[in-house]
Symmetry: C3
């Protein structure tokens, strides 16, 4: 029990750090923000998914907000980016890899927390996916972009996969370090394959889709 | 009592389905999204208003999220659109009519739920309107558009009308099937008349307004 | 105790009115909205920060929503702008000054409420800042702009300063009218100096920053 809680915490803090770096780098690259904007966007990206999940669970104040460790890790990620922006922004893939890492870890921990709160399996999968994509969605809305989850190559699907694996493991009583890390690794791999080969989920048969690049 | 609860449920599920179709069609038309984006935007549009209402009421996890029927109906609406996108998108008015139906039904059920939770009449009207316009507003924010509620011909006003009728009926003890359907029908009619004749609520006397089409 | 509660209420209502005027003026200037859009955007700007704070605190329904005085003050601000739009919009600085006033008052009252709910000092500072910038952020997201808090000259920093002063006063037992007004005045002054002299918080050392105006 304690081991499982500790594992959840470590994975959650790793995901928080990855998303904080990602959000702060997005602030530097896309919006050219100052230090407050960078750290704020890093923290929103890092903590937003967990906060949205906890609001849905009615677990208020949100755990990721009450616990100083999440705040410290998220703020540290933003500050690291501020200090090393010149170096980090040259490494475009870093943003994508960090985002995939946060996505994978949060899908697992979010679904796990929803199960621990007694929600049904479908709800737990959805909350896992919400935890995974929530912070990045807030990041995109705040910087005026259509959220990645709505438009990108295989973004929600790997999160749903990992959350589903977590729920199956949880319901069969085999949830633990191996299941959690396996689910996160699957999500991470599928997401990066999606980015690498520009895989998309199927589009509707309208004769539009891939052939017309124009949106709206 | 049971009859009233059942009625609320049926109207709520109808509104959910209408908004799911609407949101998913918006995803196809405006943003050219893939299947995940379509179903996600359909579900957000369908469930968003009720979730925002339940967060405000502190009824967490949100009823429309805990209850599998809402999830199933919302997901079904998204899938229907994905499969029939080629046919449905040719029928532009369908989007507007579905949106008006969702708006009307949610204004009534949202105000009714707020009353049942003991909120005051003004708060119940506002929550009815929030339930009605909330999902569409999330849809518009996620696809990068100024929300309909802020700019469109008679959008919030019919919702406020229907919510007000519901509250009056509720406070006078005459809330039931007839009152609920009457209020929804009024909202639906006013909204469609507004669309048909491009009616706008009054603009401020600045000499700008209708004569300068430019926004921002 | 009662005096402190009354003070909190008065400052909170003043901030609410200032933000309602500001949000409604933004609706007139930036988005050319009708009366519903103007009043809605005024109310969202005025009540949004407090509602976000209360959701985070789990104080639901939100106090600023349950209490008719907040609703009345927020609606009145929107209506005043609707009636006097022609006169008010000529006075551009008015929008900025009102925004600074709302920012200052909400930073203090938000941090004070978080302390009263037993949150830690860092959380109270963050919730003070969230109360201060939340309504304006919703205003900007709904009108399709990158939020001021992410891009503007010294916007979040004065709010964090005032919230920090409030928390220090609260924890040292010297929180009262003088401390609250002092903290708000400091925030107000720093914010207006920032606007007047176009002060920015530091940007990262990327060689971009001020010299490349382009934001994308």
């Amino acid at each position: 029990m304690t081991g499982s809680v500790t594992l959840l915490l470590v994975l959650d803090l790793l995901g928080t750090f990855a998303f904080a770096l990602n959000g702060a780098l997005t602030a530097v690259r896309a919006a050219n923000l100052d230090i407050v904007g960078i750290v704020t966007l890093g923290m929103v990206t890092a903590l937003g998914g967990g906060i949205l999940r906890d609001i849905m669970l009615g677990d208020l104040p949100p755990a990721t907000f009450s616990d100083w460790r999440y705040l410290a890790v998220a703020a540290a990620g933003g500050l690291v980016v501020f200090l090393l922006a010149r170096q980090l922004t040259r490494i475009l893939p870093v943003i994508l890899v960090l985002d995939a890492a946060g996505l994978s870890l949060f899908a697992v921990t979010g679904a796990g927390k929803a199960l621990a709160f007694g929600l049904g399996p479908v709800q737990a999968v959805i909350l896992g996916a919400l935890t995974a994509v929530g912070g990045g969605t807030l990041r995109d809305v705040l910087t005026g972009r259509v959220p990645t989850v709505l438009r990108s190559e295989l973004y929600a699907i790997p999160a749903i996969l990992a959350a589903t694996m977590t729920v199956i493991a949880g319901q069969s009583g085999s949830y633990g370090a191996a299941a959690a890390i396996g689910a996160a690794a699957l999500c991470f791999t599928v997401r990066l394959l999606g980015v690498r080969f520009s895989l998309d989920a199927p589009r509707p048969p309208t004769g539009r889709g891939k052939y017309t690049a124009g949106r709206d």
